[in-house]
Symmetry: none
Subunit: 230 residues, 2 copies
Amino acid sequence: MSRSGLPNHYQLAEFGALLAEPARAAMLLVLLDGSARPAGELARVAGVGAATASAHLKRLLDGGLLAVQVQGRHRYYRLADDEVAAWLEAMALPRAPKAPRPPGSDPALCRARTCYRHLAGELGVAMCSAWLERGWLQSAGDGMRLQAPAVEALVGAGWQAEPAGHLLRLRGRGCIDWTERRLHVGGPLGVALTDAMLEAGWLRRASRSRALLPSDDGLRRFAQLGVRLD
Amino acid sequence: MSRSGLPNHYQLAEFGALLAEPARAAMLLVLLDGSARPAGELARVAGVGAATASAHLKRLLDGGLLAVQVQGRHRYYRLADDEVAAWLEAMALPRAPKAPRPPGSDPALCRARTCYRHLAGELGVAMCSAWLERGWLQSAGDGMRLQAPAVEALVGAGWQAEPAGHLLRLRGRGCIDWTERRLHVGGPLGVALTDAMLEAGWLRRASRSRALLPSDDGLRRFAQLGVRLD
DNA sequence: CCGATGTTTCGCTGCACGTCGAAACGAGCG
DNA sequence: CGCTCGTTTCGACGTGCAGCGAAACATCGG
């Protein structure tokens, strides 16, 4: 992040100043779980008005502590990188409890569902983070790309969709999940993956909702690929 | 430190506020090497008047970041404990690359340095992990304790600090190294080990940084104790 | 094209706090 | 005892900035 040529103590002071405001501290702590949240929600969490929150978010953004992702008329803010997360963790403060899931939502829908035409929900988020972590998925320019080891693993897990190598050329788009507030794979890559998983019977569409129901076999395959639900 | 029952984000904000002032940040950074300095000197370092410095020192004292020791008409300020030092180190180090070098800072500093008053950096981490692995160091309740075989090995490696057995009664505190992001030994045990190593000439303090320079002889002794750098 | 919703910008007010000089306090010293 | 020096307290000034409401902007839905 900010690699200015300022003397050390100025850098430290600037960093401290960003934490010094309870509203900003609250926002950062909420985002410590890796979630990405829209400005309005962060305003609510911090207990300030939308205008004030916007100013705080701008400062955190300029300070390099946050990154923003525009999606429709929402702007999702998240911690800039895991270095920032580590700094915050280093203060040994207990992390904020996970946000409660929206009332009245179907648990199956939270678990896995289609977002447009790709996999979302806990399962989609778990797949994305697990694959990012092991380098099977890497951000590239405007989106993300699957890497060769992932294709090998997919084939090893019984992938049948014909040209598995074709996946390497599809662009994945980071998409923020509504219930989880975290990244999952959309775009052509996400759609292709989801279609093939449906075809192979790893997932099945629920009859009257957008929920996706993983089969026992599917769960095994996912586990084999490093993806597991709690 | 602040053990108040306040919500987390207030604690974080208070901590940040203490760092937010360049004068205070400068004072803390100067004290990061474990030194204790009189108020006047800290005022000079911070570039403010005596009155201003006094106010800052009072705030840092009330905030639990500093401790004071009265001696004659001087008042020597130092960091309150090595927990504070660890926090500061975690925040200050990554943003303190003095050399225009890529994200990593001074190589000597990465290799071995003081964290508060104990050994940190690659060497500190290597020592901790090697000794934990062979059972010379074991976590016990709130910290870690050296085990008898370690003392024997130290003596065998030419340990001269008088009552080597005394080390068994010192509490070691796990301290997270920022550059390595791994555990090393702090607390009274870490300080005692480091002091003795300095005294024995295994390590030497760099003149104008917190780096510790291992001598050839020291490296041999470390290797003898199962500790080696790549 | 129009309203609803999410977000940012602008203008303003009020407070917290960093800064200093002067004065007070306390410890050493002759 | 009176002098000096290191430090803290006091009082006053200036400013940075958090906060809000209103208005501007952007995007989605119809």
